[in-house]
C-alpha cells in the first residue's frame, strides 16, 4: 500500500514538472495555489494529465478538497483501488 502510494506520488511529481516554473521542491504538503502558484485552470490541466497517466476519471467535483500534492496522491490511490 505505502509502496503503491509512493509510486503514485513519484508519477504525479513527474507530471507536475512542466507546471513547476519556479522549481519548488515538491513534497506531499506542497500546495498548488500557495507554493506552486497555480491558478484553478492550471490545476485542472494538471488533473487532466493525471487522468491520462493513470487511466482514471477524476471528477472536477473533487477539486475543492485537492489542495496539496499529498491529497491528490491519496485521491488517485483511492480511485485506482476502486477500479
Amino acid at each position: 500500500m505505502t509502496q503503491n502510494v509512493d509510486r503514485i506520488f513519484d508519477q504525479i511529481c513527474e507530471l507536475i514538472k512542466p507546471f513547476n516554473k519556479k522549481n519548488v521542491v515538491i513534497s506531499k504538503d506542497t500546495y498548488f495555489s500557495v507554493d506552486l502558484e497555480l491558478d484553478s485552470l492550471a490545476v485542472m490541466d494538471l488533473l487532466s494529465e493525471i487522468e491520462d497517466e493513470f487511466d482514471i476519471t477524476i471528477p472536477l467535483n473533487l477539486l475543492p478538497d485537492l489542495e496539496t500534492v499529498g491529497q491528490f496522491t491519496e485521491a488517485v490511490e483511492k480511485l485506482l483501488s476502486e477500479q
Partner: protein, 409 residues
C-alpha cells in the same frame, strides 16, 4: 476577532487599485450616449464600438424597435412574475413558436438570460447519477451550471476529439448505464474558433451520450439560415439540445434551449433558473421575435464575415501577434503582459475605439487579448479607423516596429 467576510477579496482589490485612474481604467467605462449599433459617446468623445457582440447590428433595427414600442404600449414595462405564475404572456409563447420554426425543432423554452439557460439546462438535465463532460475552454455559465448541479463533472481538452473519446470510454467502462451530457460551444468567444462538431458528435454518439451545443456566438452568424455552427457543419440531427442567447445577434437579452426530446417540456416543472425568476419584459420578447424572423432571411452574414476578415488581415499584416484568423466575427491580438494589455486598452479608448480587454482566467492559455467583435453594421471606414488606431497604439507602445502603411493597403 471575527474575520471580515471581504478579506478574501484583498488580492483582487489590490490588483484593481493598481489599475490606471480615470478614463484609462477599463472597469469604469460608461456609455454616455449610444448613437447606433457601432458608435457611442464615451468620455465625451464619439467612439467606435468594436467589442459589443452586436453581430447583426440588430439593436437599432427599426422593425425590432417598433415591435418593442408597440409591445411596451400594449403590455407595459414588465411581467413582474415567473413563467410558472403570471409571467407567461401570449407573446412569450409566440416567441417559443418562432424559435421552434427557426430551428425546425419540436420544443423551445425561453429563459430570462443566456447564462440562466445554460445554468438551468445543465444543472437540471444532468442529475446525481449522471455525468457532464465539458470542454476545458467552456464559458463561465457552463462551469456554473456544473457547479449548481449534482452530476459528476469531467473536463476534456479544448476541441480535442481523442481526449473526449478517452474520457467517455473511461466513464462507460466504469458506469455502462450512466446518463452522459456532453457540452460543447459552436464558437468559442475569446478566439472565435469553432468546435469540430462532426468529430465530437460522432464520438459522443458512439458512447451513447447526449449532446448540448451552445450557439451563443454563432446564432445569426453561421449556417444557411443562421441557426449556428451545428447547421453550418451539417450535424443538427446529432445534437440533442441547442442553447443560445438573444443578447448578441438578436440584439436584446434572454436565452433559450430548443430540443426534440419528447419529454423536454418537463423542464418547465423542474428547472429552477426557469421557474424562480421573472420572465422577460414584453418589449424584449417582441424585439427578439422580430429579430429572429429577420435573421432567418438575412443576407448580413457574408457582410459580417467580410468585415472580420478585413480587420483580421489588416492586423496580421501590420505585424500583430494574432489570436484569431478571421473565420469568425472575432478579431483578437495577443499582448505579452497584462500591464501592456491594460495600457493598450487605455490608449485605444482615448483614440476613440472601444475594444474588449480580455485577461486570464476568462481567456484560454493564459492569453492577454485586445478583442474585437465585428458587426455587419460596421462600415469599411470604421474598420479602417480601428486598424489605423490599432497600428498607432501598437507603435506608440512598441508592439509594432515600422512600415504600418502596408497594412492599410
Amino acid at each position: 476577532m471575527t474575520l471580515d467576510l471581504f478579506e478574501k477579496f484583498d488580492p483582487i482589490l489590490n490588483d484593481y487599485n493598481s489599475l490606471p485612474a480615470g478614463e484609462a481604467n477599463p472597469f469604469t467605462v460608461s456609455m454616455e450616449k449610444v448613437l447606433s449599433p457601432t458608435t457611442a459617446i464615451i468620455n465625451g468623445r464619439e467612439t467606435i464600438l468594436a467589442g459589443t457582440n452586436n453581430y447583426m447590428g440588430m439593436t437599432f433595427n427599426e422593425e425590432c424597435m417598433q415591435a418593442a414600442r408597440d409591445a411596451l404600449d400594449a403590455l407595459g414595462t414588465g411581467t413582474t412574475g415567473s413563467r410558472v405564475l403570471n409571467g407567461t404572456y401570449n407573446s412569450h409563447k409566440q416567441l417559443e413558436e418562432t424559435l421552434k420554426a427557426f430551428y425546425d425543432a419540436e420544443h423551445a423554452i425561453v429563459f430570462s438570460t443566456g447564462y440562466q439557460a445554460n445554468l438551468g439546462v445543465i444543472a437540471t438535465v444532468a442529475g446525481p447519477k449522471d455525468y457532464v463532460v465539458i470542454d476545458a475552454d467552456s464559458h463561465a455559465s457552463i462551469y456554473d451550471g456544473c457547479a449548481m448541479g449534482n452530476a459528476t463533472v469531467v473536463r476534456f481538452k479544448h476541441n480535442d476529439p481523442d481526449n473526449l473519446d478517452k474520457r467517455l470510454a473511461r466513464i462507460r467502462k466504469s458506469d455502462p448505464q450512466a446518463g452522459i451530457l456532453v457540452v460543447l460551444e459552436g464558437v468559442y468567444s475569446m478566439l472565435g474558433d469553432q468546435a469540430p462538431l462532426k468529430e465530437l458528435t460522432k464520438i459522443s454518439k458512439n458512447h451513447n451520450a447526449h449532446i448540448l451545443v451552445d450557439e451563443a456566438h454563432s446564432i445569426g452568424v453561421f449556417g444557411e439560415t443562421g441557426r449556428g455552427v451545428a447547421q453550418a457543419q451539417g450535424v443538427e440531427d446529432q445534437v440533442d439540445f441547442i442553447v443560445g442567447t438573444f443578447s448578441k445577434s438578436v440584439g436584446t437579452i434572454g436565452g433559450y434551449c430548443v430540443s426534440n426530446h419528447p419529454k423536454f417540456e418537463a423542464l418547465r416543472l423542474v428547472c429552477r433558473p426557469y421557474m424562480f425568476t421573472a420572465s422577460l419584459p414584453p418589449s424584449v420578447v417582441a424585439s427578439a421575435t422580430k429579430a429572429l424572423e429577420l435573421i432567418a432571411n438575412s443576407n448580413l452574414r457574408a457582410r459580417l464575415l467580410d468585415n472580420s476578415m478585413k480587420l483580421n488581415r489588416g492586423l496580421a499584416r501590420a505585424g500583430f501577434d494574432m489570436g484569431t484568423t478571421g473565420e469568425s466575427p472575432i478579431a483578437a491580438i495577443i499582448v505579452k503582459s497584462q500591464e501592456m494589455a491594460i495600457a493598450f486598452w487605455g490608449e485605444m479608448i482615448r483614440e476613440g475605439v472601444y475594444v474588449n480587454l480580455a485577461l486570464p482566467p476568462a481567456t484560454p492559455n493564459g492569453l492577454n487579448l485586445m478583442r474585437c467583435s465585428l458587426s455587419a453594421a460596421h462600415t469599411v471606414e470604421q474598420i479602417d479607423y480601428m486598424l489605423e488606431k490599432f497600428i498607432l497604439v501598437g507603435r506608440r507602445l512598441g508592439l509594432l516596429q515600422d512600415a504600418p502603411e502596408l497594412a492599410l493597403a
